[in-house]
């Protein structure tokens, strides 16, 4: 199929590999090695999108990642589209399916283009001015309108099916950019013996040398392309060098931590699903060399945004690198020498280059002479003052710049492509990200990197060095110096002989003069955000002085290129309007990411099942087989309840509760945090950490421990067993384990380093099987050996060691249900087999397995608190009626002094009480407010809130725990829980609903 603008030969495309692709449903042909942009241009397609605000037809402007216009959506599978990709970066593959954006119903006929006619209404600050009043319009009218209008492209509908990878890497020298400076820097660093990573955002490495066809340009007497090939081959052969093409350095963070995004499969038609789509490289580099080159600047003349108007160097890149002609009749507008190379190359390819309009009054130099010699008409002191053509430029209006700066018309010229070059802007984005402050170089009219803040250096044209020989030399030096700084030795490769590629001169900043009615023309500064020179001037007129404010008011420089194309022009316009110098106005700061990064790349493997560790107990598999429902507690999966066929949660929990109270229940308590506290000062340490007294706790005894923070508030609780004089088995809440260990370790290291005691987490050493209920002893008796279970030998809150089912155990007699209970600690790997043996006994006794919900109900019936449910970090022991847990004779413990604080001893604090609803079937909502009045006046403070609420099978009615101001004194009185359906009357009672004497424990 024909590609009308493809030249017959040449370019770096693979003509043996033709590919077909679609754009807006039409099928086209291109070649392997094309980008979507180059393939479209080869098919003579310039119109590729509509602009964001005015919906103006837009074409491909550049050949790089700074492209502001050619944003397209790609579709792979159904629901897996990717919006807002730059056509200049999309590598062509067979079957590529691209769509244009921001148009309806079609690219060539777009209803939104009415905005263009209404453009006088949409000047900078339009949103701020228009959507201010009335305030009541904001939610219903303005925000929905702005949301509908904002954003480009369509977000994918389905979850991303691609895979994403991550690699942490270290190197001595990271080189960013593989143009002549980057290649030279990487070579010097590699030859110095450094570990080098060289990355480049493009498919091929070589940068500007990839489109350098000028036969007069030679490096070591070879064409530039051959030098690139040889240099890359040498680097690839060095096993201390990592070459990363298709990899964008998008973030420069602290301590030379640089994030790179590698596109692994986006260029493949049918990628292997085992490959990641993209890979995030998190690189820690001892030294960084930034070699990101320079970016050609658009010229700001009226109607400079029509399709067919492009950067001059882009015209050259498409021709030389991709074999695609950007037009048939080309006019070039320039203020700098490099555009002449484009003119010559295009002319030599048979394209009519009718005019080079040079802004400068008297351009001189080899490039200009060569253009003239090639028969190209060169007009000095000439500007483009406007263009015509609806979906493609058809004519350029010309003006002659007189010595006084005014412009007179010089007619017009027909063209189907207008190339422009306003000069070159050093690409200082990454330097700026590294927190460096740019400095203004008057001679070149550019901001260049100032002093390094981090261990980095810029090389080549990104720091204003121009001319091929100088750039390569600068790269070698940067690589050598970086290697020396990183590894203590550096080697400068012998500089190759370079001919051609001399530095050009020239350039312009800001809006160009013209002879048109200034009020009626628009000259675009930021193409993607539709910001014109007028908008910038308007912002200044309205009082914005700081470039950062102008940027935000006009949105100039806020597009995906972050102003790499537009900033200097905008700045110049602002500086003229403000009558201040450019360095005085200053440049905005560049931020991460350099170019947009997919969410997948940032998430890497942290998705789905691997987002967080999912911790399972040794008994998890058994519970799963029994059909348990699970709940998440921190990272743990805990069995929530064990429904029998036909049972819902309510029925299952009611049955489990009743069974435990009547016979026996089996509960997996393995997730409880465990800390082994060992050393001669172990008891003294616990005495200081917990409120309770520990020094006299006998070996083989257990004690409930309450832990406060320094503010005197309850932090954690748990049962602690004394295994030996110098060894304690501490348990913590499931969620509190890491916090408690850190808290203990903190005190040990900072406050009491003199204590001979050490802490070891043993949470996962043990599986913990709780056997609770009147038949608990009967259940385990046949299984244990070496342990006397008799109540006298093993009373409540004691422990023994021995074996169960032949497995060594630390057997605790302890209860969190109010029933006779044991907790069997066995080595984790034996947890399931011991559990199953006990389960057989429990089954035989008509007991059941129960989950966390039943555990919660049973403890609430007993008024046992759960840290984090009855407490919220503002609750003292007295608040929850646990003064008994405080060792009255203790000299000190963490939080003790705070318990005497005025706000702690004051009356009226919220206290733990029980609540009984008048209607026993009503279960209160946890978190509901408790009030004095049934219908309190608005803004009356609540007395407190419900902390726990359940249906209690043992009581045959609902129960609730609550924190209520002065609650204990209100026992017997009626309070209210106001709900949307009306207030619920509740009676204040003791928080211990069941067996208040504890008779069922002592059996």
């Amino acid at each position: 199929m024909k590609q009308p603008q493809r030249i017959a030969s040449g370019g770096r495309i693979d003509r043996a590999a033709p590919l077909s692709f679609t754009f807006d449903g039409e099928t086209y042909q291109g070649f392997k090695g094309d980008t979507l942009a180059s393939a479209l241009l080869a098919n003579d397609i310039h119109l590729v999108g509509r602009s964001f605000k005015y919906h103006r037809p837009r074409g491909i402007l550049t050949a790089g990642s700074e492209e502001p216009n050619a944003l397209v959506g790609l579709r792979r599978d159904e629901g897996q589209n990717t919006p807002n990709l730059r056509a200049t970066q999309i590598e062509l593959y067979s079957g590529l399916d691209a769509v244009s954006q921001n148009r309806f119903p079609s690219l060539s006929f777009d209803i939104g283009a009415v905005n263009d006619l209404l453009s006088p209404l949409f000047a900078a600050g339009f949103y701020y001015k228009t959507f201010m009043w009335p305030q009541s319009f904001w939610n219903k009218v303005y925000e929905p309108f702005i949301r509908a209008a904002a954003g480009l492209g369509n977000a994918p509908r389905d979850a991303d099916r691609d895979r994403y990878a991550n690699t942490y890497a270290h190197c001595d020298v990271l080189v960013i950019g593989s143009g002549p400076a980057g290649l030279a820097a990487a070579t010097a660093a590699a030859e110095s013996g450094a570990r080098v990573i060289l990355c480049d955002e493009q498919r091929e490495m070589g940068g500007s040398l990839l489109h350098e066809n000028d036969p007069s340009v030679a490096i070591s007497s070879e064409p530039a392309g051959q030098w690139v090939e040889k240099t890359l081959a040498d680097l690839a052969a060095n096993d201390r060098v990592t070459l990363l093409p298709r990899t964008t350095a998008f973030g420069y963070f602290a301590q030379n931590f640089v994030a790179l995004a590698e596109r692994v499969t986006d260029h493949l038609a049918d990628p292997d699903p085992r490959l990641p789509r993209e890979r995030l490289w998190q690189v820690r580099a001892k030294q960084v060399v930034i070699a990101t080159g320079a970016i050609e600047r658009p010229m700001v003349f009226p109607e400079n945004d029509r399709p067919g108007i492009m950067m001059a160097e882009a015209g050259r890149i498409y021709l030389n690198r991709y074999g695609a002609k950007v037009g048939s009749r080309v006019v070039i507008a320039t203020a700098c020498d490099t555009a002449y190379h484009a003119a010559i190359d295009l002319k030599q390819a048979g394209i009519e280059v009718d005019l080079v309009a040079d802004l400068r009054p008297d351009p001189q130099g080899a490039a200009i002479d060569a253009a003239k010699a090639a028969g190209i008409r060169v007009e000095p002191a000439m500007v483009v003052t406007g263009t015509q053509g609806r979906k493609r430029v058809s004519k350029a209006l010309l003006g002659r710049v007189r010595p006084d700066g005014s412009v007179v018309s010089a007619g017009s010229i027909a063209c189907d492509c207008l190339l422009m070059s306003g000069g070159w802007t050093p690409n200082v984005s990454l330097y700026s990200q590294s927190r460096g402050k740019v400095v203004f170089d008057e001679a070149s009219g550019a901001f260049v990197p100032g002093p390094s803040v981090q261990a980095e250096r810029s090389a080549g044209s990104c720091r204003g060095i121009n001319g091929l020989a100088a750039v390569i030399e600068d790269g070698f030096e940067a690589g050598e110096v970086a290697a020396k700084a990183a590894i203590g030795k550096g080697k400068r490769p012998e500089a190759p002989e370079v001919s051609g590629g001399e530095a050009g001169s020239g350039g312009t900043l800001g809006a160009l003069p013209h002879d048109r009615d200034a009020a009626r023309v628009r000259a675009f500064v930021d193409f993607q955000n539709d910001v014109t020179a007028k908008d910038v001037k308007l912002a200044v007129r309205e009082g914005f002085q700081s470039i950062e404010h102008i940027k935000r008011y006009t949105t100039t420089g806020m597009a995906t290129d972050q102003g790499r194309l537009s900033n200097m022009n905008a700045l110049s316009i602002a500086s003229t309007a403000l009558d201040r110098t450019i360095p005085d106005v200053g440049l905005t700061t560049f931020r991460q990411p350099y170019t947009p990064v997919t969410f997948g790349t940032l998430a890497t493997t942290s998705r789905g099942d691997l987002f967080d560790p999912v911790r399972q107990t040794p008994i998890h598999g058994w519970a799963e087989e029994q059909g348990a429902a699970f709940e998440d507690v921190g990272l743990w999966k805990r069995a929530w309840y064990f429904p029998k066929p036909g049972e819902g949660m309510h029925e299952a929990v009611a049955r489990e509760c009743a069974t435990v109270r009547e016979t026996v229940g089996l509960f997996d308590a393995s997730t409880l945090g465990k800390i082994e506290v060992v050393g001669p000062d172990a008891a003294e340490f616990l005495n200081r950490i917990y409120t309770n007294p520990w020094l006299k706790l006998g070996v083989g005894k257990l004690r409930y421990g309450l832990m406060l923070n320094e503010a005197g508030f309850i932090m954690d609780d748990g049962v602690v067993g004394r295994i030996a004089e110098d060894r304690f088995h501490v348990t913590t809440t499931t969620g509190g384990a890491p916090r408690v260990l850190a808290h203990m370790e903190d005190y040990l290291q900072t406050e009491w380093p003199d204590l001979d005691v050490w802490l070891t987490s043993t949470t996962e050493q043990w599986a913990v099987i709780a056997v609770q209920g009147p038949k608990a002893r009967e259940a385990i008796a046949p299984l244990v050996e070496g342990i006397d279970l008799a109540p006298e030998a093993m009373p409540h809150m004691s422990m023994q060691t021995g074996t169960i089912c032949g497995v060594p155990t630390r057997l605790f007699r302890v209860s969190f249900t109010g029933e006779l209970g044991f907790e069997i600690n066995v080595p984790a790997s034996k947890g399931r087999e011991v559990w199953e043996a006990v389960w057989e006994r429990v089954k035989a006794l008509e007991g059941c397995a129960y989950g966390t919900e039943t555990m919660h109900v049973l403890r609430a019936e007993k008024g046992y608190i759960i840290v984090g449910q009855e407490t919220d970090g503002t609750v003292t022991p007295d608040d929850v009626g646990m003064d008994w847990a405080i060792g009255k004779k203790k000299a000190d413990f963490v939080g003790m002094r705070s318990l005497a604080r005025p706000d702690i001893v004051v009356s009226g604090r919220k206290q733990l009480v029980g609540l009984l609803t008048d209607n026993p079937s009503v279960v209160l909502e946890e978190g509901a407010q408790v009030t004095q009045e049934a219908r309190p006046a608005l803004k009356t403070s609540a007395l407190g809130h419900v902390t726990s609420s359940y249906h209690s099978p043992a009581l045959g009615r609902s129960i609730a725990l609550a924190l209520v101001a002065d609650g204990r004194a209100k026992t017997g009185s009626t309070l209210y829980v106001p709900m949307p359906d009306g207030p619920i009357a509740v009676e204040v009672v003791s928080p211990v609903f069941y067996d208040p004497q504890g008779a069922r424990l002592d059996v």
Binding site: Y168, A169, T605, P613, T760, T763, S829
Partner: protein, 187 residues
């Protein structure tokens, strides 16, 4: 340094078997956390039959025993011979009244053996340390993070590492290794 082979594959099918990288679950070992000052350290070494190293990030080992330095007063002791109970008794007897803490963590940890020329690459998908063998050389050990899991990493060969982690974190660590290794299957 002789071959470090305290951890042996447990005989089950590897968790990962890809080109250039293999991950095996290790067979059970006796493990202890040993804490204490120098006086305790010098007594514990002979009792455990391999000295407790005092150089940060280092390890010592015999054919069946290893001691990994985890901190100025903390070591992870690994034993492929003898029961945890018996070893515990020997060390406790040797220490006597010298203040220290010895805690059996045999069941707390499980281990993965990551081997092959792509082992370091595989680990570096989730682990941010520099695993170049001139930087993190054979015998080095450290407590670190593997994605969101705390692990102890021990280099037991140029192309072989051991990951010791708490048992409930093992599926997460192994799952990530398997996920990352998938691209190694692609020719």
């Amino acid at each position: 340094m002789s071959e470090i082979a305290i951890h042996q594959a447990n005989g089950a099918a590897p968790v990962v078997s890809a080109r250039g990288a293999k991950v095996n679950l290790a067979a059970p070992l006796a493990r202890f956390s040993f804490r204490g000052p120098e006086a305790a350290c010098v007594k514990a070494g002979p009792a455990f039959r391999t000295g407790l190293p005092t150089t940060p990030l280092s390890s010592s080992h015999t054919q069946t025993r290893a001691a990994l330095w985890l901190g100025p007063d903390e070591w992870l002791l690994l034993a492929a011979d003898g029961s945890a109970g018996q070893i515990f008794g020997v060390i406790e007897a040797a220490l006597g009244d010298t203040p220290h803490a010895l805690v059996d963590v045999s069941e707390r940890n499980t281990a993965l053996i990551v081997s092959g020329p792509r082992a370091a690459w595989l680990l570096n998908s989730q682990l941010f340390l520099d695993l170049d063998d001139t930087v993190f050389h054979v015998g080095m050990a450290t407590r670190t993070l593997f994605a969101k899991a705390e692990i102890v990493l021990w280099r037991t060969g140029k192309d072989q590492f051991v990951i010791e982690c708490w048992r409930s974190f093992l599926p997460y660590v192994a799952g990530l290794l398997a996920e990352v290794a998938r691209e190694l299957e692609v020719a």
